[in-house]
Symmetry: C2
Subunit: 274 residues, 2 copies
Amino acid sequence: MCQLLGMNCNTPTDVTFSFRGFAQRGGRTDQHADGWGIAFFEGQDPAGHAAPTDPADPAFGDKGLRHFVDHQPACDSPVAELIRRYPIKSRNVISHIRKATQGQVALENCHPFVRELWGRYWVFAHNGDLKNFAPRLHASFRPVGSTDSERAFCWIMQELAKSHASLPSVPELTLTLRELAAQIAPHGVFNFLLGNGQALWAPASPQLHYVERRHPFAHARLADEDLSINFADHAGQNDRVAVVVTAPLTTNEIWTALAPGELKVFVNGALGDA
Amino acid sequence: MCQLLGMNCNTPTDVTFSFRGFAQRGGRTDQHADGWGIAFFEGQDPAGHAAPTDPADPAFGDKGLRHFVDHQPACDSPVAELIRRYPIKSRNVISHIRKATQGQVALENCHPFVRELWGRYWVFAHNGDLKNFAPRLHASFRPVGSTDSERAFCWIMQELAKSHASLPSVPELTLTLRELAAQIAPHGVFNFLLGNGQALWAPASPQLHYVERRHPFAHARLADEDLSINFADHAGQNDRVAVVVTAPLTTNEIWTALAPGELKVFVNGALGDA
């Protein structure tokens, strides 16, 4: 199974610590050596001054995107080394380490995938196999590679585009995405992370775990590498960070398994309502 | 004015040498310090074995894409440093160094821009200002940032999508792109580079220069840095590389200014017919 990592924050935060442990699973502490990728949303104002914090505001969220993919194992990749060393600060990050089960090992099959809709970039990473899921793609989103995951993403983008004339609010998007996720779920394991620079969406699934970090911050110790960090040294009192992963990254924090049910949304560093 | 760099080859080639000199213009030898970007197409088989070489073959070209953008000056950027050191091999590369004249300095305004159409990624970088060019965008391509360049790219994608039901051959694409470029040209300086992993398109403009490197390969000396290379040590006898830039990168090669006229296409490392 592939590995997913998502981070959603209320203030730009670097993912260096979490990515360190996560990247070890790409060929070193786990068998996911068929490529990897990471996407960071970045706003116009990295300091976060005066950025709208209300998800109902159309200007809410970050529009810039950095997207890195590599078909080398994450533990050996020079690009992954850059990410580990260079603290890119972001409020929304999605990363994926691939164990190829469908589609060959090739750059165009590395998650996360990116498309543009309504003048925003959308980022999608998926973990699991879909069976008999061959939706008709009649609109303007087509897979470039050969994975079922990218096909499912194109279908989600197509159906989102049909459901709204322009970018709706985050709560409205969540309602639509719940309906779409429910249509795909019967076809197999459909753990995914979807982000648009405003929020991070994840299906409720016991295979995904999350932690919410907020004041008072504590020490955390990586499960995959001998490294610990005291977040209190790095975070401000009002900072909130939510991290969603396939398997918990740290050994001394309380990770909650998402209970089966509806799709969840993380906004401003916390699990959203409902 | 911004700076453009495009490379089109018949075999995967690293752009390290050309990028070294080019990146110096991002804040060191020239005033283009408002961000930069580079995109590399990569095929499923980096060695190029058995890949179709006929541009009329629908499987021709590379589908994978690496896309790096940064709003830090290219001469200081850790990401640019990675590109200088890590020899990514590609048959199609487009890079851009930005001097902001429209749109603020922000990640979402950094070229090149990427969109997907017909299951291929399309990459676009532009140099110059467009005046009174506000085409109606009624289809599914919308700018994320605030530059005229991205708007023009979205319009080109929209019109391409209207002109063909699926991916046409490279010669057919060239005919359509000529018609589209001619519609934008009256609005101002429209030097651009467009690639889809099959070919590199550039408008005929005296502000763009190209060199074709082929056997017998010779020494080249960078104009912007004290560095020279003997391509004969690195290239095979059948290798062909075309490089297109705003201003010549080397001092001892013969760079040809593209004569004003029709849009040009580079395929398999050489200027295409007509």
